[in-house]
């Protein structure tokens, strides 16, 4: 039993040890990347061993207690790790992707001065992500949650001498911090009402939470909906949902491995993980679930469309991450948590592969990121081109690839269980159109970068070194086969119950039966009857026609395309609103506070007035001291007369 305990702790803490060692002591590049990759490899292997242990054993969670956080009366705050089915699946994905990213960044960051610092930060980030997933209490959750946003702050601002990087990481951290406010409030409420921070206790009295209610504006609000709302706001900021998504495109300032690891696979999915982990919290209120689906759906469609007229290759893939996150949120909102997690894992693989391919193109063309300055790279970089093509197909949900399995499941669940109201139809139509738009923008990149005319001036472009090619090919293979292989673990009769303590309401059971029926009957056959597959394939063909065969169409229809292009290029004005309205409002408010409050109110009125009056009063008194003796005597005699008068008055004579 002791071995399992050591292995669980070590699986999470290897990257921490490696990160700290490289960060503090290591100077040489070679030792740095060896140490970090070794750490990551060990953690990946121990997680695989744990997974085998978990599968072979009786499938109950492996729990390890680390320490007692605080011994305050009736608040048991113990920090520990717990590997249940959900945590193991996620840890597998995170450690695999992180390991491949470590190998990838050996090649990508070769000649960078901050090489050692980069590796230590990447390892520390992987530790934070693993700790977030593996922890078994709310304090550890919040610690992991904040530390991943901290490490994303460091990694986005990795090129610290660039002002744009400083702006981007400041904006990213602030928006994450805003979400953390709501999240922390939800945590405090949850801990207060469950009297403990452990997940087990939270799941134990979910029903108790469901029927306690707080009155806000003196109408009773169910506690779980309130906490669910707060958690959703936290998830929105972390997983870049509609109003709080503006930081993700700017976070492309960081190096590409960072975008691949953080802003594609692991960090942005923390919000989805949180909502799935506390699915029982959301399950009790239909209204909240509807809100989540609507926000997810609008994100899926409109954020995806923004990628259509973007020139920077990394920002296009970032916008595609935004839309895929929208899909996951729709799945969460519909109650299909395990499908959302399935899509999350599949998305991690093909999105990381896309980013790696983009990275190798950027390295090949000496840090050129504008797709219109690249072209015809298929001949010089065949492997990158192939990997990009495969993961693009998987992203757009073409059948044999893994993307199809998870995306199609989401669409079929959406068709079955979205409410029959205007919003329900809107959600389903938005996702459907999303399926059309995704292949459009991703293949636009493929055609212009890999096929199309060669309009880059770099002459001979050589294929990137093996450290970049090797992880990319593995991820490409995963994005092909992973879907089919891992489907039975997530969906179907003998699937692992990913989300613990789900209340078995009628909606959930109906949903499960529907999914089991589809899976048993074969997803492909079911998909043929669905419009989703048609839209995906149509999208691919459409993009082939527009961007490959007839590139001159876009130039000819310049006129009436100008207005939508302007809207999409300015990201529906979100950036404008953020910079001009919100930032100016708060800085104006702060400046007035400073000017009015501090200078005027406190310094000028209170202090200066009081001191001036004292000085003036003192001057008046000193004028009594004239230099004439007789005036002094006059005053003395008047005073004497007054005193005599008073004493006579009080002694009753007068």
């Amino acid at each position: 039993m002791q071995l399992i305990k050591i292995l669980t702790i070590s699986s999470v803490c290897w990257p921490l040890a490696a990160g700290l060692l490289t960060g503090l002591f290591v100077k040489s590049h070679r030792l740095a990347h060896r140490l970090c990759v070794l750490g990551m490899l060990l953690s990946f292997l121990s997680i695989i061993w744990l997974c085998i242990q978990f599968m072979s054993g009786s499938q109950q969670a492996i729990v390890v207690d680390l320490m007692q956080w605080s011994s305050l009366p009736n608040l048991n705050a113990k920090i520990g790790l717990c590997f249940d089915a959900f945590a193991i699946m996620m840890c597998l994905m995170v450690s695999a992707v992180a390991l491949l990213i470590h190998i990838y960044s050996i090649g990508y960051m070769q000649d960078d001065i901050g090489y050692v610092r980069f590796f230590s930060l990447i390892s520390l980030f992987s530790f934070a992500m693993l700790f977030l997933i593996a922890t078994n209490n709310l304090i550890g959750l919040f610690l992991g949650w904040e530390s991943i946003s901290l490490f994303s702050y460091f990694l986005i601002g990795f090129y610290y001498y660039k002002n744009r990087a400083a702006e981007a990481n400041f904006k990213a951290f602030l928006i994450n911090r805003f979400g953390d406010c709501a999240f922390c409030l939800g945590l405090a409420l949850l801990i207060y009402h469950c009297k403990s921070t452990a997940y087990a206790d939270v799941y134990a009295n979910i029903n108790l939470l469901a029927n306690t209610s707080l009155n806000i504006f003196n109408n009773p609000v169910q506690l779980t909906t309130l906490i669910g709302c707060l958690f959703f706001i936290g998830a929105m900021s972390k997983s870049a949902q509609i109003p709080l998504h503006i930081w993700l495109p700017d976070s492309m300032e960081g190096p590409t491995p960072v975008s691949a690891l953080l802003h594609a696979a692991t960090m942005v999915t923390a919000g989805v993980y949180l909502l799935a982990r506390f699915g029982s919290m959301i399950e009790f209120s239909a209204g909240l679930k509807l809100v989540i689906t609507v926000i997810g759906a609008t994100g899926a469609l409109f954020l995806g469309m923004m990628a259509l007229c973007e020139a920077d290759i990394k920002r296009i893939i970032a916008f595609s991450t935004l839309s895929q996150l929208g899909y996951m949120m729709v799945a969460i909102g519909l109650g299909a948590y395990h499908i959302a997690i399935f899509h999350l894992i599949m998305h991690a693989f093909f999105k990381a592969c896309l980013f790696m391919a983009a990275g190798s193109v950027i390295v090949g063309l000496h840090h050129e990121q504008n797709i219109f300055k690249m072209g015809g790279l298929w001949s010089s970089m065949p492997i990158t081109g192939l990997c990009f093509f495969l993961s693009a197909l998987s992203l757009s949900g073409i059948p044999p690839f893994s993307g199809f399995y998870s995306k199609d499941l989401i669409l079929s669940v959406a068709q079955a269980s979205t409410p029959a109201s205007f919003l329900g139809y809107y959600v389903y139509d938005a996702i459907l159109l999303g399926c059309l738009v995704t292949p459009l923008y991703i293949f636009r990149v493929y055609w212009t970068v890999f096929c199309g005319p060669e309009n880059h001036q770099h002459g001979e472009v050589c294929e990137s070194p093996w450290t970049i090619r090797f992880p990319m090919t593995i991820l490409a293979i995963l994005s092909i086969g992973a879907g089919a292989l891992t489907l039975p673990f997530f969906v179907g009769p003998d699937a692992l119950n990913i989300v613990p303590a789900l209340p078995d309401t009628s909606a959930i059971t109906r949903l499960n039966q529907f999914i089991n029926k589809i899976v048993t009957g074969g997803l492909l056959i079911h998909a043929l009857r669905e419009p989703a597959l048609a839209f995906s394939i149509g999208g691919v063909v459409l993009s082939w026609i527009i961007y490959k065969r007839k590139p001159q169409w876009t130039t000819r229809h310049q006129t009436w395309l100008a207005i939508p292009e302007y809207i999409l290029r300015n990201q529906y004005g979100f950036d404008w609103v953020y910079n001009n309205i919100i930032v100016t409002f708060f800085s104006g408010c702060a400046r007035t506070c400073q000017k009015v409050g501090e200078q005027y109110l406190i310094n000028r009125t209170i202090e200066n007035r009081v001191s001036q009056n004292i000085v003036i009063g003192a001057e008046k008194f000193s004028r009594v001291q004239t230099s004439y003796l007789n005036r002094y005597f006059a005053i003395m005699s008047v005073a004497l007369a007054g005193l005599i008068g008073i004493s006579l008055f009080y002694s009753g004579i007068l």
């Binding site: 605080s70 011994s71 610290y160 001498y161 602030l174 911090r177």
Partner: protein, 500 residues
């Protein structure tokens, strides 16, 4: 325990001050080594005290000697959970400020150390005193060395700032003296236990409450009376502002815990809404003001005012909780206040220390003169980042623990208050990271920066010591909460009596 350990700790500071004042003319090396050895001795003494302290007992190591017998004022010292932690914090911060003096300053080290030791002696006296008059004596006495220290070894118009600090604190503590005398005469003798047993009617309590709050609100700068702190900090030297931020602000908080809550429970019950509103204003308004500061030290000073707002919020939210809430949430709230006091002490001392190192190299406090410091001094920016994280309240550092418990207690009292209190996380992030962005990121535009050397081994040792403590408290806050739960339970009993 026959050794009078508390008097030893108390007068250790004074003896040290006398020794240091004699060394003014000896060699620099001698001054530095004696100062460090003496303050290490002090830390040893407190370590012995901490080792001998039994967590779940009321006042220990009590020493009672008649001082002004016919008035009933005794030289009465004792330590319980709350004051033990604050004494340890004082000793650590004094040790660090002595080290910072030795590391940074080249001349008049002896005089700076005398002032530091005097402040230590007086503030430890205030924390240990269990007698009203003795508390007032040390409360006033701690004001003088700080006034002279800012005045003598400060920055530009230091005398203005010192005078302002002195007058503000003096104004508050005069009413405080009147109320202590009133209590002393009414209760017969001046010891705290007899104060606590006094049955005062409501308007008596209201008057006493306003007198106490006036004194402590100025010392712990609450919102309307805070304008002395930024001036005092900008003009004080590095170790001066470390002392001011870490120790002297805690006197106000300690005073609230020792006087306002137990002696005037009904009045606190009545005025709790007002106090919470003031502390919420302090948190949000000062957060905004801090965001637009152009002087780094002034920004850190406003940050500590915002943190102090958090402390008063934690204290008075215990009264806003409805009767149904168990007593344990109040204990959590107030132990959160204590932890936040200590963590704020550590993190703001760290920030001022870091800034002192840069000010020693560049000599300017204006943010515009800095930029791209990360390229020039990477290790230094690592340490500075850690202190900023603790200032923000990042989980895993000391700043988060206190803040989280206070928010936890406010949740139990009133959700809207908690919503506003949580905003402090965003506001502290804006001004702290705004500072980091302007100072560390971006291109190096001030050419003088390129000639600056990164921190040497002694500065690394100093900052390392402090960051170890911050991370230690962050990961295991039990060091503070375990020993102080019993003491806080007593204060919370008074809170309960206030409600019933």
């Amino acid at each position: 325990m026959n050794i009078p350990i508390l008097s030893l700790i108390l007068w250790h500071g004074l003896i040290a001050a006398i020794i240091m004042s004699q060394l003014a003319r000896s060699s620099i090396w001698l001054q530095k080594s004696t100062a460090v050895i003496i303050s290490m001795l002090g830390c040893g003494l407190t370590g012995y005290l901490w080792y001998g302290f039994i967590p779940n007992q009321a006042f220990q190591f009590v020493e009672k000697v008649p001082w002004i017998a016919h008035l009933g004022a005794f030289y009465h010292l004792g330590v319980d959970g709350i004051s033990l932690n604050l004494v340890i914090l004082t000793m650590i911060i004094v040790f660090l400020s002595i080290l910072s003096i030795c590391v940074i300053q080249e001349k008049n080290i002896a005089s700076a150390c005398t002032w530091v030791f005097l402040v230590q002696a007086m503030s430890i006296g205030a924390f240990l005193a269990l007698d009203g008059l003795l508390f007032y004596l040390f409360w006033e006495a701690s004001l003088l060395p700080m006034f002279l220290y800012i005045g003598l070894c400060g920055g530009g118009n230091r005398w203005f700032a010192a005078r302002k600090y002195f007058l503000f604190s003096l104004f508050g503590s005069l009413f405080f003296l009147v109320s202590i005398l009133y209590l002393g005469l009414k209760a017969g003798d001046f010891s705290f236990s007899s104060f606590y047993q006094l049955q005062l009617n409501l308007n008596e309590q209201l008057l006493l409450f306003t007198a106490f709050t006036l004194a402590f609100a100025i010392k712990l700068p609450m919102f309307p009376l805070h304008s002395w702190l930024p001036d005092a900090h900008t003009q004080a030297s590095t170790s001066g502002s470390m002392l001011l931020a870490a120790i002297l602000l805690k006197l106000g908080g300690y005073g609230f815990m020792r006087f306002n809550l137990p002696i005037t429970p009904d009045a606190s019950m009545l005025l709790a809404p007002l106090m919470t509103v003031l502390s919420i204003i302090a948190i949000i308004y000062i957060g905004f003001v801090a965001a637009v500061q152009s002087d780094i030290k002034r920004l850190i000073a406003y940050a500590s005012i915002s943190h102090m707002g958090m402390i008063t919020l934690g204290l008075f939210v215990a009264y806003l909780m409805p009767g149904s809430v168990q007593e344990s949430t109040r204990i959590i709230g107030i132990s959160g206040v204590l932890v936040h006091m200590i963590s704020h002490g550590l993190s703001s001392a760290g920030l001022f220390l870091c800034f002192g190192l840069v000010y020693h190299r560049l000599g300017t406090r204006d943010i515009k003169d800095y930029g791209g410091l990360m390229r020039v001094m990477p290790i230094y920016s690592g340490f500075f980042m850690l202190f900023i994280l603790s200032n923000i309240g990042f989980p895993g550092t000391a700043g988060f623990v206190g803040e989280f418990f206070v928010i936890y207690a406010t949740c139990a009292a009133n959700l809207w208050l908690a919503g506003l209190a949580v905003l402090t996380m965003v506001l502290s992030a804006t001004y702290s990271l705004g500072l980091v962005k302007q100072v560390f990121y971006g291109r190096v535009n001030n050419m003088q920066l390129l000639t600056v050397m990164d921190i040497n081994w002694s500065e690394k040792l100093l900052l390392g010591l402090l960051s170890l403590m911050i991370i230690g408290v962050g990961i295991a806050p039990d060091i503070i909460t375990a020993s102080s739960v019993h003491a806080i339970k007593n204060t919370v009993l008074f809170v309960k009596s206030g409600q019933s």
